[in-house]
């Protein structure tokens, strides 16, 4: 099957590389390695191979030896996947019917999350960053100042100003 070759001058084809050929040459190989060497299920192996291919697409210009890169990348991806899987614990039978505690307050938390996302979307770039760093990632004022190349005093003012901006703009958009 050829996905790209059928279409004329798509943005993908203008990248100057036949991704379809690269896919056909490497993805089956990666799936084979994941299944045979790491005993990953076929469907998960395909998911991993596609994720590796997407990672390749993001930096294809910088990769010199494609085959070695794909092989190394799928091996690392499989190891990572198996490490993650090894931490999974089977649920006891009585737990199966119980709801996930993560969703216990979903009716309260979901609207809050959506509101926060919308409020962030209304802000200027620096305000988005300042509030995200402070309230979501837990950065202190001096840490924000360091990342934004500003003084701590200004960072403090900035956070306060951005909070005001969020209130005003989100409130205005909601009206």
């Amino acid at each position: 099957m050829s996905v790209v070759a059928d279409q004329e001058s798509t943005a993908l084809s203008r990248c100057g590389i036949d991704f379809d050929a690269v896919y056909n040459h490497n993805v089956p190989l990666m799936i084979g390695v994941a299944v045979d060497r790491f005993h990953v299920s076929e469907s998960d192996a395909q998911t991993l191979a596609h994720q590796v291919f997407l990672a390749f697409f993001l930096k294809f210009n910088d990769i010199r030896d494609r085959r070695a890169w794909f092989l190394g990348a799928i091996c690392n991806a499989c190891r990572h996947y198996l490490r993650m899987r090894s931490r999974d614990v089977e649920l006891s039978s009585e737990m199966v019917d119980k709801p996930d505690p993560k969703f216990a307050r979903i009716t309260d938390s979901l609207p809050d999350k959506i509101a926060a996302r919308e409020a962030f979307g209304c802000l200027t770039s620096r305000c988005q960053l300042a509030l995200r760093l402070h309230y979501l990632d837990g950065y202190s004022i001096p840490e924000i100042a360091a990342q934004l190349h500003i003084t701590p005093a200004y960072a403090k003012k900035l956070v306060a100003r951005c909070l005001r901006q969020a209130r005003e703009r989100y409130g205005r958009d909601r009206r």
Binding site: T10, D20, H50, A68, N76, A77, R117, R126, L129, R132
Partner: protein, 396 residues
């Protein structure tokens, strides 16, 4: 995700990048600040983040301040809600990539703590996705470059970790980059011959690869090693080769660093007048890029040259200027103390040449080590200068 869906995502990103390219070009050309701007809906794409990051990565040598601004804008978009709409590993990639560019730009601006913090966040982001292990390794390598300036043992451990991943994916070029960091650690430890051997070995291996940037970076480092080892003519040849390559690559800041190396060779071999004529534009260039540490260090080399030719008044005036710049930029308090000592010394009589050299070396070392008190009478304090090499920006 099946093949069609995969290619649809790739097509979408390729389109987004095409759309973003002229926008970024226009943003750059306009010269307007992008520090606090409204982000139009159409900009909230993976393609825009990637193009902003590309700009930041490619312009570190010429516009480091702008690179910080552009990478922060990429970060604002990359960590925004729109990035969550892409399938894995894109969301983690965008966050990680933007944080990495922020970190590398901070490193260029001598902001090591902020750089390290940003690079650690980038690593954590890449680590979330199994397909991004080489991005994680590249970021670890970048952090090794920053850690080299603080804790060399940590830098060695980090480069070993990165080298392992590069070996697994058959990336010889980036394995050599790790060797370069090792050479720099030897340099920093004062083992110049050990550093020279590693640099020369890396240079031999690189002769088969097309990587002029790293070749030039190594030549610059080698030039310094030859200078310390008293091989003046080899030092000049190495720095000149580095300068030639950097000129061809159109990397002005690296050309300046190569010139700086040459100026130090001239200074050490007693050609203070010639050294001064090279050092003046170097210092002015760093000042124009708002890089006070490098500008100050070049200033101290000029002070050394002035003292050598007996122009004590000019030396005193310049030492004062550098001190003021350090105070204004709120740089290391220990460096300021040392510079204050130097200024006082130049006010008085006596032969200050040895002290100038000691203060210069001390100020340079402060960027590499934990803060330590300046001890003017320490007999070992004025010995070899530490590495003021190119930051060796991370290859992607």
């Amino acid at each position: 995700m099946n093949k069609e869906q995969l290619f649809a995502v790739m097509e979408q990103i390729a389109e987004e990048r095409e759309a973003a390219r002229p926008i970024v070009r226009e943003l750059v050309a306009s010269g307007a600040s992008v520090d606090d701007i409204e982000i139009p809906e159409g900009w909230r794409t993976a393609g825009m983040v990637m193009e902003l990051c590309e700009f930041a990565y490619n312009h570190l040598e010429t516009e480091p301040t702008k690179c910080v601004s552009f990478s922060l804008l990429a970060l604002a978009i990359g960590t925004g809600s729109a990035s969550a709409n892409y399938p894995p590993p894109l969301s983690a990639y965008l966050r990680g990539r933007a944080w990495r560019e922020v970190g590398v730009a901070h490193r260029y601006m001598n902001d090591y703590d902020a750089a390290k913090h940003a690079l650690l966040t980038a690593e954590a982001s890449f680590r979330q996705e199994p397909a991004l292990s080489d991005e994680e390794a590249a970021t670890i390598y970048a952090r090794a470059g920053v850690s080299f300036l603080a804790v060399d043992g940590e830098a060695l451990a980090l480069t070993e970790a990165a080298r392992q991943t590069f070996a697994e994916i058959g990336d010889v070029r980036r394995q050599i980059h790790c060797d370069v960091i090792h050479a720099m650690v030897h340099w920093r430890r004062g083992d110049f011959d050990g550093a020279r051997i590693r640099y020369e070995s890396a240079l031999r291996q690189l002769s088969e690869l097309d990587d002029p940037y790293t070749i030039a970076t190594i030549c610059n480092g080698l030039g310094c090693m030859y200078r310390y080892l008293g091989r003046t003519s080899d030092a000049v040849t190495s720095h000149e080769r580095a300068r030639e390559i950097f000129q061809a690559l159109e990397m002005p800041i690296e050309v300046i660093r190569a010139n700086w190396g040459l100026a130090q060779v001239l200074l050490d071999s007693g050609h203070a007048h010639k050294a001064l004529s090279l050092l003046k534009p170097i210092r002015e260039y760093f000042l124009s890029l708002q890089m006070p540490e490098e500008a100050g260090e070049a200033g101290l080399h000029m002070v050394d040259a002035f003292v050598t030719i007996g122009q004590i008044e000019s030396a005193r005036k310049l030492a004062n200027e550098v001190l003021k710049e350090f105070v204004d930029a709120k740089l290391n308090v220990y460096a300021i103390t040392a510079l204050g000592y130097l200024r006082d010394l130049l006010e008085g009589n006596g032969n200050p040449r040895e002290t100038v050299s000691r203060v210069r070396s001390y100020v340079a070392k402060l960027q590499l080590r934990e803060a330590q008190l300046f001890l003017p009478l320490d007999e070992n304090g004025g010995a070899n200068e530490p590495a003021r090499a190119s930051p060796l920006r991370p290859s992607r």
